[in-house]
Symmetry: C2
Subunit: 283 residues, 2 copies
């Protein structure tokens, strides 16, 4: 079957969550080199473990592109002190993204504070938090990528749940559709089901700062840790890739698979080998 | 805390899924009588077990209102014969709803056929199926209630995932906003997260044919069978109830809790007692 759009997807990037149980960040960098993967997207826990300066030097020497830093966000809190602490942590995340020359800082915005049922209030706190963070990130040259998360995470991880909702925030806080200081991370896992997907990708245009791939398994056995390898699920990944490319996205395809019962239990070199194969055959 | 809207919710209805492991339909009917519950919404498997005529007589003698029949739908199939078989089964569901004098037939529309990644195609099949079913249901006096299901069910249970999407189908197939032959079932579990919820409830108006309650637990341990009792989760149920009442909904609150590890393991009379309490205190 002919895949739509460009014959070949953008280059592959490894989100370190994909082998988080098996490898340190240093091992991820070396693994990328062994497997011909030219991009990497570290999580901040792995980065802290290695040290930002060490990691930045190693990644630079390896010649890898940092397609994103995971993650900032988690803005809502029960009180002003909590929100201030969250914001301060986000400032540090911006500093780290700058040190790594990351293409963006990915924002998983957070859900409702414990005990709250006020999702509209949480959404307001998120927008306020992003507004304050943008003032810090823009002069630092760090782009912010709001990642809408699947609605099943609305309560506890991210109350921004559609591309349309993320773009509403971009429209409210950014300087129009050409301002890429604030944009979105489009992860097929979170957005594939959205009946408004095609329209919202068009609306996003150049504000798509990252494109993440994995797959939706049927059945899905765990809300958080049962993501599938590209090709093993039901998402028409090439169709979505063609849509983001049609509005100008020409960056990496970042693979991010959280899979406690399958891929996290395998040899990490095998995982990367399959990622490379599937990136070529089904993305 | 003062609940918004009317002080008292509409009367309680028992969806038989709530005690499906413990009770037959006959036991559900008797249980409703014991607990002062005046509405019931049977699933078709329980109905088939009892026999439609027996069930209809028992429910009538008990003086219960049938707030819905669960369920029609499951329209998409791999080929025309499969779609025809699905439609024929839906015709039988309409017949049963008519025999029970049900306020609506709830439609869980179905996901993608096995092996398919074409969600747009599945959505097209759903709309075609509902169009054909409406021609059968309208003269029979049976209202069809499209139930948008949470996006985590998009692949395998229902590819209609928002109220807005369900209303697009109503607009396409019905005779305007006053035509209640085709409407929606609003279940807080499926729609609470939607940033467009308030706007879409307004748009729905009188086409809200059923209002279902339960709660979203944090954490949710199973995609299908870990629904919470009203008040045990994070959904602001009174706020959503106030919104549906504001557009004219004055029917029952139907409780539908699928809970394999908690409520299905308890004594069914205890479950109904808690439903009645929570209906009064937190809905």
């Amino acid at each position: 079957m002919q895949k739509p759009g460009k014959a070949t997807p953008g280059p592959l990037s490894l989100n370190t969550a994909t082998v988080k149980v098996q490898w340190s960040l240093a091992e991820c960098i070396e693994g990328c080199l062994r497997h011909g993967i030219t991009g990497i997207s570290p999580w901040r826990d792995k980065l802290a473990e290695y040290g930002v300066a060490n990691a930045a030097r190693h990644i630079r020497e390896a010649g890898l592109t940092v397609t994103g830093l995971c993650r900032g966000g988690m803005f809502p809190a029960i009180d002003a002190a909590g929100r201030r602490a969250a914001l301060e942590d986000n400032f540090r995340a911006v500093d780290e993204a700058a040190a790594l020359n990351a293409q963006c800082l990915v924002l998983v915005v957070g859900g409702m504070p414990a005990g709250s049922k006020d999702i509209a209030g949480a959404r307001g706190q998120v927008q306020d938090g992003i507004a304050a963070l943008l003032e810090y990130a823009r002069p630092a040259g760090v782009k912010l990528a709001i990642e809408p998360l699947h609605p099943m995470y609305a309560a506890d991880r991210a109350c921004v749940n559609t591309l349309g909702q993320a773009l509403d925030i971009c429209d409210a806080l950014g300087n129009g559709a050409d301002d890429t200081a604030l944009g979105v991370a489009a992860d097929v896992y979170h957005i594939w089901w959205d009946p408004q997907l095609a329209a919202q990708i068009k609306r996003a245009g150049r504000r798509i700062l990252a494109f993440h791939v994995c797959d939706w398994l049927v059945p899905t056995r765990d809300l958080l840790l049962d993501r599938g390898m590209m090709g093993d699920g039901v998402i028409d990944i090439p169709a979505i890739r063609a849509q983001v490319e049609a509005v100008g996205y020409d960056g990496f395809c970042e693979v991010e698979i959280m899979s406690s019962e399958n891929w996290w239990k395998r040899d990490a070199d095998e995982v990367l080998r399959v990622c490379v194969e599937r990136h070529a055959s089904v993305v």
